[in-house]
């Protein structure tokens, strides 16, 4: 969630009263934003000998782009408090009727196909407004625009450039200009090298760097306005004294493009000479049928059912009452004159988050107050309480192992490839383990296929503990399984490890016997037992195993016969000294690991 800093005194002035931190926190809570910090009593930074005034740091829900700046927060809170109503945003063409144009060249489809524009006439900036204007662009770039990949904004002093503008895509070498706050001109290629190490801009270069053409916006005199999504030209940069602002926005995502445009102009048109007026821009883009006038500030009319809203909220409000409450949330709503049970809601251009009537229903609930809603207790259920069968089986084994004196541990499920294979003297046949594409560390390369790495690491980290150490885990491993939709399946394992001055071989063997006994599985030896008709619930036997994980002659495979079907369910043995060395263990270790799923 984005966090926005606003000047406390300025906000309270706009809200018409002072709030204590607690009061303001309560207001935020009810409205659905979160006061993260009030810096009044904190050490605030001193810049040029002046201490920063107290700030309110407010967390904003990720879909409320209209709250990403001071202007939006004050407006929406004032509307929520009933002190203001939603402004009427108006598109006003210039007196001569001649709209500014952005002419889009077809080559832009190769790199960044969409552009949108708007003009704010006779804006009056001051230091705070100017900073907010810059910060909003930054917040939109970071959040909705996904680090400028999807959308990027350029703002210009319109009095330094001349329309019509063109939006083109050209080879980097053919684009030459002095970027923002630079004096020397450079071409697209040089610019990439110049900003390679730049702290802020360096991370955006990849978006276009390897493309044969870069997007660029020119004015009528071939002055470069911007090289989206990297940087603007120095020539047209805005300042505190700029009065006419040209906004151009380029994008990969058409929907987000227009959202960004609407946010920029609705938030800052309150500073134009005639409040809330915006001069539209004509986009000429025949090749992809995107010729149009932007921005589109027409409110969308959505219909919401009174019965649906009342049912979900557990209320019984009239259509008029609901409409009235919705004004607190910056909507204009009225009962439909033609349809019963319907209210017509104008979704203002500021509210990109409203997709469905459920979003309107939520705002009714917020306006009513979540904590004031009549409470009930849903008592009807068609479900019978029941555990997942494999979890029930797991709990039986966990409890038996703990009662037998073993301690349960809970290592991680992800591990390194070596821990899962090489360190256990096991080979990766490429068909076993699920491998991760983008781990941040070596610790998380594969989903474990065995519980042993976690047990051995737990022992390694607990060497100060008295010996013998007896630990176990019952949990899932995962295997590749190309037959399934998800190409993988989990398998529930039980594993235990002994660490002590003796090998503990017969101790883990004893634990196996105990758990098998508790699962009503009878121990049998060899052929003779297999003939035995006195079959218990199931039977198990062990066979000597030659396996590099274990010390030669001291390992066994575990076989279970359940319902007449034989399964090799696992292994136990004294770990090979080379395994101990890899895991940095100084004393002998015996382990046991079985798949418990056949006992389901």
């Amino acid at each position: 969630m984005p966090t926005i800093s606003v000047d406390k005194a300025a906000l309270f002035k706009e809200l018409g009263r002072d709030y204590t931190t607690e009061e303001f926190d309560e207001l935020c809570f009810e409205f659905g934003i979160e006061l993260d910090e009030d810096t009044t009593d904190s050490d605030r930074p001193i810049v040029d000998g002046v201490q920063e005034p107290p700030q309110l740091k407010i967390e904003i829900p990720a879909n409320r782009y209209d709250l990403l700046c001071f202007e939006g927060i004050q407006l929406m809170l004032n509307i929520f408090l009933g002190r203001k109503s939603l402004p009427e945003y108006k598109l006003v063409p210039p007196p001569n009727g001649q709209l500014q144009e952005i002419i889009v060249k077809e080559d832009t489809t190769k790199i960044r196909p969409y552009v949108s524009g708007a003009i704010l006439r006779n804006v009056k900036f001051d230091a705070a407004r100017y900073e907010s204007f810059i910060t909003l662009q930054d917040k939109l770039h970071q959040n909705l625009a996904r680090q400028r990949t999807l959308v990027s904004i350029g703002t210009h002093d319109l009095d330094t450039i001349q329309g019509p503008f063109t939006y083109e895509a050209l080879p980097p070498k053919d684009i030459k200009f002095a970027p923002l706050n630079q004096t020397q001109e450079m071409n697209g290629e040089e610019l990439m090298n110049f900003y390679e190490k730049h702290q802020q801009l360096g991370k955006y270069l990849h978006i276009i760097r390897d493309s044969p053409v870069y997007p660029v916006i020119y004015d009528a005199n071939r002055t470069v306005c911007s090289l989206p999504p990297i940087i603007n030209g120095d020539h047209s940069k805005i300042s505190l004294n700029t009065t006419n602002v040209f906004i151009e926005i380029t994008a990969l995502d058409r929907t987000k493009l227009e959202i960004v445009n609407r946010m920029m102009v609705t938030m800052f048109s309150q500073y134009t000479a005639e409040e809330f007026t915006i001069e539209p821009v004509r986009i000429v883009s025949e090749h992809n049928n995107e010729t149009r006038i932007t921005p589109d500030l027409t409110p969308r009319i959505a219909e919401a059912e009174v019965s649906y809203i009342n049912q979900c909220c557990g209320l019984d409000l009239s259509a008029a009452d609901i409409s009235n409450r919705l004004t607190k949330m910056a909507f204009r709503a009225k009962p439909s004159s033609t349809k019963a049970d319907i209210i017509e809601v104008e979704i203002p251009p500021t509210r990109a988050d409203v997709l469905h009537q459920c979003d309107i229903m939520e705002d009714v609930a917020i306006a009513y107050g979540f904590n004031q809603l009549p409470r009930s207790f849903p008592s009807k259920s068609g479900t019978v309480a029941q555990p997942l069968p494999i979890n029930k089986l797991t709990d039986i084994i966990r409890v038996e192992a703990a009662m037998a004196g073993w301690s349960e541990v809970l290592p991680l499920i992800l591990c390194s490839h070596d821990e899962n294979f090489a360190w256990l003297n096991r080979k990766d046949d490429g068909n076993t383990a699920v491998k991760l594409a983008n781990p941040k560390t070596q610790e998380f390369q594969v989903v474990r296929t065995s519980l042993l790495p976690g047990l051995l690491k737990t022992i390694r980290e607990n060497k100060a503990h008295s010996v013998p150490m007896k630990i176990f885990e019952v949990s899932d491993v995962a295997f590749k399984d190309m037959r399934l939709e998800r190409k993988s399946r989990n398998e529930r394992h039980f594993a235990a490890a002994w660490y002590g001055r003796t090998s503990g071989f017969e101790v883990v063997h004893g634990l196996l016997d105990r758990v098998m006994a508790m699962l009503r599985s009878a121990f049998i030896t060899g052929e003779e037992g297999l003939q035995n008709p006195e079959a218990a619930h199931s039977e198990y036997f062990i066979k000597e195993l030659d396996n590099p994980t274990y010390f030669a002659g001291h390992a066994a495979s575990i076989h279970a016969r359940i319902g007449g079907k034989e399964h090799v369910i696992g292994q136990f043995g004294i770990l090979h000294p080379t395994v101990l060395e890899k895991y940095d263990l100084k004393l002998p270790v015996s382990t046991l690991e079985i798949n418990i799923e056949p006992f389901l």
Partner: protein
């Protein structure tokens, strides 16, 4: 026992009602030996005793020499008196020794015992008192000195050293007896057989010490908390969901939940993607032999399951994202099927809730589900973040559910874990609307703490599955680790989950009773 002092102590006391001192009664017995006997007698109240610390002064070799033969100055004086007509200064070292001459001459001058007469020393008194020697003789016999200033001076002059001596002052106790009867340490089968238990004197039990540690296994503290949560769900009639499925598709983990494909949660920075295997299949029926297939209880419902149309579901999800459907305008972006077929480690168990709700759509009816299992986030590891943690998730589906019902349910649910004051904040979540963050008042911390998230699943998600419009579904979730950390004051998540957890912590952690503070 090498030398049992219990009898001599009881003997010594028999003759005296007054307290005795161990260094006087048993001057040659090591004090440790005396002490162990006194302890044994004391634990039976046969005697009482107290320890007395005392400084013991001992003369150094130089001190012993002065005590025996006089101080340096006294020796000089004697030599000067012995020379009838004064003593030549140069001859002094030859007579009394070099050291005596140097120190003694100066001290004798200072005390006015001798004077200098050209190159000779002459006595100014007929006789003197050698105070230093007297003092040291007294220290030698009493081993003490009351004047601390004088003592400090003697220590500085390296004539005495100080050491500690513990002596015990002991006297008869309430159960004093002349004879110390040997005690039995424990009741034995032999005593029972012979009947000697009747006269046996059993050693008194030390009620101030702990008993013998009992060897014990242990369940993991986090799993103990998990059990409590599972019990709460069972008490409230919930069925456990099959979360034994770490690998999910982009479809189930995100698209089915109406999380748009450009959502930041789908970044490489946040989600673990799978390199091998690479591509999933579109959603389809589980194999009939899958032992973990969801088994929904057919209770009172008499309606039949209708077959699930997976292709229709896939198409609905596609459309609701790209163009909008079911009364939603959608996100309006080109939806990419490949993105949906990428494999991920599930970032939440809500992917399984989506799977289960889709199964429920075959025959929509009131139902309650829960799960508590591991989820994965590609986060940088720190004190409060691990790449893995447990998510607790609850789902209630019914016709006509209200938001107030969710609040009411949460109050009952959290009351069962000892949280009695809740409040709800509007929040944002891509797959629930309304969404509420749940805050609980933590008595110990004296503040409101965020304890979970909840909401009603969006119609875009539910109607795509085939859940009818009139049915609402609550979903809520919280991590298992966070409430456990708050409850048990654990500040680092790595002390709770993973191989770095201290085994002693696991073995000593008390039973979990969430309803008790």
């Amino acid at each position: 026992m090498a030398s049992d002092m219990t009898a001599p102590i009881l003997d010594a006391l028999s003759a005296s009602d007054a307290p005795l001192l161990s260094n006087e009664a048993f001057p040659s017995t090591p004090s440790l030996t005396v002490k162990s006997a006194l302890d044994r007698l004391g634990s039976r109240q046969m005697i009482e005793y107290e320890a007395i610390d005392k400084d013991i002064l001992t003369l150094t070799p130089e001190g012993e020499e002065i005590a025996a033969n006089g101080s340096h100055e006294a020796k000089v004086f004697a030599a000067v008196v012995a020379a009838l007509d004064g003593l030549k200064i140069a001859d002094l070292p030859g007579i009394v020794g070099k050291d005596n001459a140097k120190i003694g001459q100066g001290n004798a001058f200072k005390r006015g015992w001798i004077k200098k007469d050209s190159d000779k020393l002459r006595a100014t008194k007929e006789s003197i008192v050698d105070e230093t020697r007297e003092l040291l003789l007294s220290v030698q016999s009493t081993k003490s000195l009351s004047d601390s200033k004088v003592l400090a001076d003697l220590k500085r002059r390296k004539l005495v050293t100080v050491s500690k001596e513990i002596t015990y002052k002991f006297s008869k106790g309430p159960k004093y007896a002349r004879e110390f009867v040997k005690e039995e340490t424990d009741l034995t089968p032999e005593m029972l057989a012979s009947g000697s238990w009747k006269t046996a004197n059993l050693k008194a039990y030390n009620f101030n010490a702990k008993g013998a540690p009992t060897p014990s296994g242990a369940l993991h503290p986090l799993n103990k908390v998990r059990s409590e949560f599972r019990n709460i769900f069972f008490e409230m009639g919930f069925q456990e969901m099959p979360t034994n499925r770490f690998v999910e598709t982009g479809f189930w983990n995100f698209d089915a939940l109406f999380v748009p494909q450009q959502h930041p949660a789908r970044d490489l920075q946040d989600t673990f993607y799978i390199a091998d295997p690479l591509h999933a299949d579109p959603p389809r029926e589980d194999p009939v032999d899958d032992p973990h297939r969801l088994q929904l209880a057919q209770t009172s419902s008499e309606t039949q399951n209708k077959p699930l149309d997976y292709q229709q579901y896939w198409d609905n999800v596609h459309e609701v994202h790209e163009k909008g459907k079911f009364g939603s305008i959608g996100y309006r972006y080109p939806w990419n099927a490949d993105e949906s077929l990428r494999l991920v480690l599930r970032t939440h168990t809500t992917s399984v809730s989506a799977y289960v709700l889709h199964q429920l759509a075959a025959n929509p009816r009131p139902a309650r589900f829960f799960s508590i299992d591991r989820v994965f986030r590609n986060e940088a590891v720190d004190a409060t973040h691990l790449a893995e943690f447990h998510q607790i998730e609850g789902v209630i589906a019914d016709f006509g559910l209200t938001l107030g019902g969710l609040i009411g349910f949460m109050e009952v649910f959290f009351k069962k874990m000892g949280i009695h004051q809740l409040r709800f904040k509007p929040a944002y979540n891509p797959y629930t609307e309304p969404s509420m963050e749940i805050f609980g008042y933590h008595e110990g911390l004296g503040k409101w703490v965020e304890i979970g998230n909840s909401g009603m699943f969006r119609p875009e998600m539910l109607e795509s599955m085939g859940i009818p419009k009139g049915m609402q579904v609550y979903g809520w979730g919280l991590s298992l680790e966070r409430p456990t950390m708050i409850k048990y004051g654990v500040s680092n998540i790595r002390e709770l989950l993973g191989h770095k957890v201290d085994l002693n912590f696991i073995e000593s952690n008390p039973a979990v009773r969430l309803e008790k503070e």
